[in-house]
């Protein structure tokens, strides 16, 4: 992006976004599995408050790219900068503590714990109280309050209520409906005060109602967090994204504002045409 920094006219917001230093910057990332190149010279950035969507066909390397940003996968070449610092050599927990939160393509939760306890663990991580050996977690008012806030933020307050069918016990997270699992995972992400959310297909497997709720939630998050959103639901992506990058065969073949991507002939040929 080489536009000048004059915030005037209708595109003032866009300009402001472009002028701020990026929250996340990925440069020349390469990842190979044997002969297979799953990430091929990928460079992209997410600015503070920006929702940058990453689309591409199955097997394009989207999840692998997210994994290299979060630290689960080690790239063979290239750099990852977060908040102005190189984070390539940092392990996953360290990157998370610096403000990277991740939701997985298949939700990952603490299955035997209740939704509130799941959120409580996020709070324990945030305030670093994991080495308190005597304070009961279940009756700690500070944890309960934080968990309630986290769950309310994603509209999951109802998961706190006991299930009358199950002798008054609160259901463990493993028994939640799929859509609620996704919401809970997001709630746990926010609890750590992140700056950037890495969301891998948050709409996958959701029914129409859950899907609409999730889109509304993502819209409400826009502007407050930097978001890198991987998503197959093209309608949702065009409705939400400030910027879209298209990944095919590990390469970014196009990147720009939604309107531009929608009409890009290479994109239509490589991806949109295929999926329609």
């Amino acid at each position: 992006m080489s536009s000048s920094c004059k915030p005037d006219g209708a595109e003032a917001d866009q300009m402001r976004l472009e002028c701020e230093a990026p929250l996340l910057e990925v440069r020349g990332l390469v990842k190979r599995f044997g002969a297979l190149v799953v990430t091929d010279q990928v460079s992209l950035s997410v600015r503070p408050g920006e929702l940058h969507a990453l689309i591409g066909p199955n097997g394009a390397g989207k999840s692998c790219l997210i994994g290299q940003i979060s630290g689960e996968l080690r790239p063979d070449e290239g750099e990852v900068h977060f908040r102005g610092q190189r984070v390539d050599d940092l392990a996953v927990p360290e990157r998370a503590r610096r403000g990277l939160a991740r939701a997985y393509q298949v939700p990952r939760l603490f299955g035997s714990l209740t939704p509130a306890a799941n959120a409580a663990v996020a709070e324990i991580s945030r305030v670093r109280s994991g080495f308190r050996f005597w304070r009961r977690a279940a009756t700690d008012p500070a944890l309960a309050a934080a968990a309630r806030i986290a769950l309310d933020r994603v509209g999951l307050g109802r998961a706190l209520a006991p299930d009358p069918a199950d002798t008054g016990a609160v259901r463990p997270a493993s028994l939640l409906a799929h859509g609620d699992k996704r919401l809970l995972e997001l709630a746990m992400g926010f609890a750590s005060d992140p700056a950037l959310l890495l969301l891998d297909e948050p709409l996958a497997g959701l029914g129409p109602a859950d899907s609409a709720a999730m889109v509304a939630l993502l819209r409400s998050l826009k502007g407050r967090y930097g978001i890198l959103l991987v998503e197959h639901d093209v309608e949702a992506v065009f409705a939400l994204a400030d910027r879209i990058s298209v990944l095919v065969g590990g390469r970014v073949i196009a990147s720009g504002p939604a309107a531009q991507i929608r009409t890009d002939p290479r994109v239509r040929a490589a991806y949109l045409g295929e999926s329609e």
Binding site: A91, P93, R108, L109, A120, V121, A122, A137, L143, A191
Partner: protein
């Protein structure tokens, strides 16, 4: 864990109260055999619950937990040779040595997971086993008679079965309370979270390793307490007390009773010790029958003996 409903926890409390009452009355009957049986159950109850911290709460299946039991046994046997008999010295020293070995071996074994973790814990236990076996002046493979029993403050001796039974029952109650409290703490929640989904925990900014290491150290130290009791029960210290077979028996107790419940493995120990006495009197193939019982438990009882008591047992 799923919180128990009121009814289930009341059933459990009544059952446990009854069991404890029986255990407290038996030593008063003046039958040394039964008094020693109670002591034995309490000793193995402590060992089993310490292993449950690892197996149940952390999902760390250790096959070398008897090493820490054996360290307790040897401390109780060796310290009297130096003229030390006070329980207030022997127990802390035993727990310290076991905790230290737990921390050092845990540093390495906790880098591994799954099957590798099982093998490495087994290997570390075998190291202690062979060291004990190689100590010629301590009887090598045969071990040695305890030169003197452990003494309580005031001079009561753990060689007296009644004293031993009450002491170990008290220790068991304390251990149950401590372990439950630990498992419910902030620390305990992180340990369970790491068991459920380590990837998620890391993505939230916590690495499981230091938490597991601390837990492993605590569980090791706790098991040495049981070892001190065992040395006084059999008045003997030998490498057999830390063989892999004993590690296997501890695992048996945990699974029989239901992991991640603390109380369950204690019940597992009680039933295991009871069955061992009954079956070994009836047949020399008692291990075979124990095996059958474990298979039945896995097939029929979803939550082990613990589930039987809370009434959520059946499959």
């Amino acid at each position: 864990m799923q919180p128990e409903s009121n009814l289930a926890s009341r059933r459990l409390a009544i059952a446990l109260g009854l069991l404890l009452a029986i255990a407290l009355v038996v030593p008063l009957l003046g039958q040394p055999y039964y008094t020693r049986l109670v002591a034995r159950m309490a000793i193995f109850g402590i060992a089993a619950l310490s292993l449950d911290l690892l197996v149940g709460y952390a999902g760390l299946v250790s096959f070398g937990h008897a090493a820490f039991f054996g360290i307790g046994v040897y401390c109780a046997g060796l310290l009297p040779m130096l003229g030390v008999q006070q329980v207030w010295v022997i127990v802390p020293v035993a727990m310290l040595v076991a905790g230290l070995y737990g921390a050092l071996s845990g540093l390495i074994s906790l880098r591994a997971s799954g099957l590798y973790f099982i093998f490495i814990t087994l290997a570390f236990a075998e190291i202690v086993f062979y060291i004990a076996q190689g100590l010629r002046m301590l009887g090598g493979d045969d071990g040695f008679r305890l030169p003197a029993p452990t003494l309580l403050p005031g001079g009561a001796s753990l060689a007296n079965p009644v004293v031993l039974a009450y002491t170990m029952l008290g220790a068991l109650v304390l251990a149950v309370w401590f372990a439950r409290r630990l498992s419910e703490s902030h620390f305990g929640q992180v340990v369970v979270a790491a068991r459920d989904n380590e990837t998620r925990l890391r993505a939230m900014g916590l690495s499981a390793y230091p938490y597991r290491l601390v837990l492993y150290t605590i569980a090791s130290a706790l098991c040495a307490l049981a070892g001190v009791g065992f040395a006084n029960l059999v008045e003997y210290a030998s490498p057999a007390s830390m063989s892999w077979i004993v590690s296997g028996e501890f695992l048996f107790m945990v699974i029989l009773g239901s992991a991640a419940t603390i109380i369950g493995p204690v019940l597992g120990a009680v039933v295991f010790v009871g069955l061992e006495q009954i079956l070994s009197a009836l047949t020399e193939h008692w291990l075979f029958w124990l095996g059958i019982i474990l298979v039945l438990r896995v097939l029929l009882l979803r939550q082990g003996l613990y589930g039987l008591l809370t009434g959520r047992g059946q499959r």
